[in-house]
């Protein structure tokens, strides 16, 4: 899945790392937006072997967007704002 940046996108660029790879996003992005707009495609792998997930509700209800942020632990990608230099890992 890819999020498409449409409106209000003239915000400063910030950099972060996704599974070790350098990525670019915008200030004010959630982790979910940053990853899925940069072409990450998904957020987590189902523990039950039925494929990748990329969130569902975007409002903190479904819990299907958990990623790990270095130093912060597990976070919901839809409700966590990206900060410059964050190291994000997917499970």
């Amino acid at each position: 899945m890819r999020l498409h940046r449409l409106l209000d996108q003239d915000r400063p660029e910030i950099r972060f790392r996704l599974d070790g790879a350098e990525m670019t996003a915008r200030q004010g992005d959630t982790l979910l937006t940053a990853i899925l707009a940069a072409g990450g495609g998904w957020l987590r792998r189902s523990e039950f072997g039925d494929g990748n997930r990329a969130g569902f509700c975007l409002m903190g209800a479904c819990q299907d967007c958990w990623v790990t942020v270095e130093g912060l632990g597990r976070r919901r990608a839809c409700g966590t704002l990206l900060a410059p230099g964050m190291e994000v890992r997917r499970g």
């Binding site: 899945m1 449409l6 409106l7 996108q9 915000r11 494929g51 997930r53 509700c57 819990q63 299907d64």
Partner: protein, 461 residues
């Protein structure tokens, strides 16, 4: 008097306004970083669209609510980014978490304005990246300026279906299809009862007319079949039209939803009884017309107390706060109370007509194929839930949803059944041959959302 308010959406803001007017300074928390709630969610700092661009027809209401919130927050103990995760009603204590730090808050009165979430019906492929709720599609656009795809199909029923499709089309996204599972939805949307709220009706009709005028592919009375995809996510949606023909729509995202359900886990932990509202087809926490719960010190307002929309949420928030003040022996403006009660009664007639126009398609949920994933947390299928109800099962058949949860784990995952609950109840009721009201509702458990285990142990110990 120590008052705590959970939620800073339309209901919470109007409630706190009344409390502050009476000289109180409540503790006010919301899991979100800012006030506004769902409909009037504000983007983070740095976004520049104005209210008109963000909220369309609701811009004036949104701006008014935000202005009220901004004026109130400094006059209260406002705690953004704070999740309320447990209540002990006898001890009158609320447990919350902010930035990983635990908070224990005592209260004399607690006002819950926790809002709602999308109600969904699973279908094959709905866990694929690119499948999302209607609310999610809106939030991406409103709060992040992004679309969930380049070519998006909209599936479900109810006002949010048309609204979300309209908002996407306006933003320049290709709308692959608007697929309404209600037959004649457009005509029903103009049902007589809806004239009780002419403004809302007018905007609803405007969206549908706008979509049709642009010849966007709108189809009513459809049956969804499957969301198709590959390793990259969604590639299409298969569905059956009202004439029984199988159809396919190419798209890279699907936004789906069948109305809303109350976010009522905290009300549950507060010990409130729940009733099944047959018209709205939801379990709702019990309260009187003013918002008083049968548990002392607890009040409810907004969509968390039963789905009624943003306008009602504002009225109900103010009314519940006045009930709280009355019960505390404070004088309240009797004319205002009368005015609010009248407005609530008028809106209730509108809501009933809306619920009749867009009924929850129970049969669609009840008829899920055995191999369709029902619980996305733990990838449990509809068939596995049916097995919990089967006579030939080695165990005693599960007579209600909580026993079925223990057998099948449906509802035991990290979302606590928020997503699978409504459809799961339909599957179980059909398997048992009883009504969905008879299979009961999933009981809420602390924490209402996952939090670090150490924080919970500290409270339990």
């Amino acid at each position: 008097m120590k008052v705590v308010v959970v939620g800073a959406g339309p209901a919470g803001v109007r409630a706190v306004e009344q409390l502050v007017r009476s000289g109180l300074s409540p503790t006010w928390l919301d899991e979100a970083a800012d006030g506004g709630g769902r409909i009037y969610q504000r983007p983070p700092a740095g976004f520049r669209r104005d209210a008109r661009a963000l909220y369309g027809f609701e811009a004036t209401r949104a701006a008014a609510l935000h202005a009220t919130f901004d004026a109130l927050a400094p006059r209260t103990d406002w705690r953004p980014g704070t999740l309320a995760w447990h209540i002990r009603p006898q001890a009158r204590r609320l447990y919350a978490m902010q930035d990983g730090a635990q908070q224990e808050i005592g209260y004399d009165a607690l006002l819950l304005c926790t809002g709602a979430m999308d109600r969904v019906i699973p279908l094959p492929g709905w866990t694929r990246p690119g499948a999302a709720t209607l609310g999610a599609a809106q939030i991406a656009l409103k709060a992040q300026g992004c679309a969930i795809g380049r070519r998006v199909a909209f599936l479900g029923t109810g006002p949010l279906l048309w609204l979300a499709a309209y908002q996407y089309a306006r933003a320049g996204v290709e709308v692959a299809a608007v697929l309404d599972t209600t037959r004649f939805a457009g005509k029903l949307a103009a049902a007589p009862g809806l004239w009780h709220a002419p403004a809302t009706l007018a905007t609803g009709l405007y969206y549908t007319a706008w979509l049709r005028a642009r010849r966007l592919p709108v189809t009513e009375g459809i049956v969804p079949l499957a969301i198709e995809g590959d390793a990259d996510g969604v590639t299409g949606l298969r569905w059956r039209d009202s004439a029984g023909r199988d159809r396919a729509t190419q798209c890279d995202a699907v936004a789906m939803g069948w109305g809303l359900k109350p976010e009522a886990q905290l009300a549950d932990l507060a010990g409130l009884p729940f009733d099944f509202d047959a018209l709205q087809h939801n379990w709702v926490p019990r309260r009187d017309a003013a918002g008083r719960a049968p548990v002392p010190g607890i009040y409810l307002a907004g969509d968390g107390a039963g789905i009624a929309g943003a306008e009602v949420a504002e009225i109900a928030g103010a009314r519940a706060a006045l009930a709280l003040l009355e019960d505390a022996g404070q004088g309240v403006d009797a004319a205002l109370v009368t005015h609010l009660d009248r407005a609530l009664r008028r809106q209730a007639r509108f809501r009933a007509a809306l619920d009749r126009a867009f009924p929850f398609p129970s049969a669609l949920a009840a008829g899920l194929a055995d191999d369709t994933i029902l619980c996305r947390c733990e990838a449990i299928t509809a068939g596995e839930l049916r097995a919990a109800a089967a006579e030939e099962s080695a165990l005693v058949p599960a007579p209600e949803v909580n026993r079925a949860k223990a057998y099948s784990r449906v509802g035991m995952g990290r979302c606590q059944g928020r997503v699978c609950g409504p459809a799961g109840a339909e599957v179980l009721a059909a398997a048992l041959g009883c009504t969905v009201a008879e299979v009961g509702r999933l009981r809420g458990q602390p924490p209402v959302k996952p939090i670090p285990i150490t924080a919970m142990e500290r409270v339990a110990g």
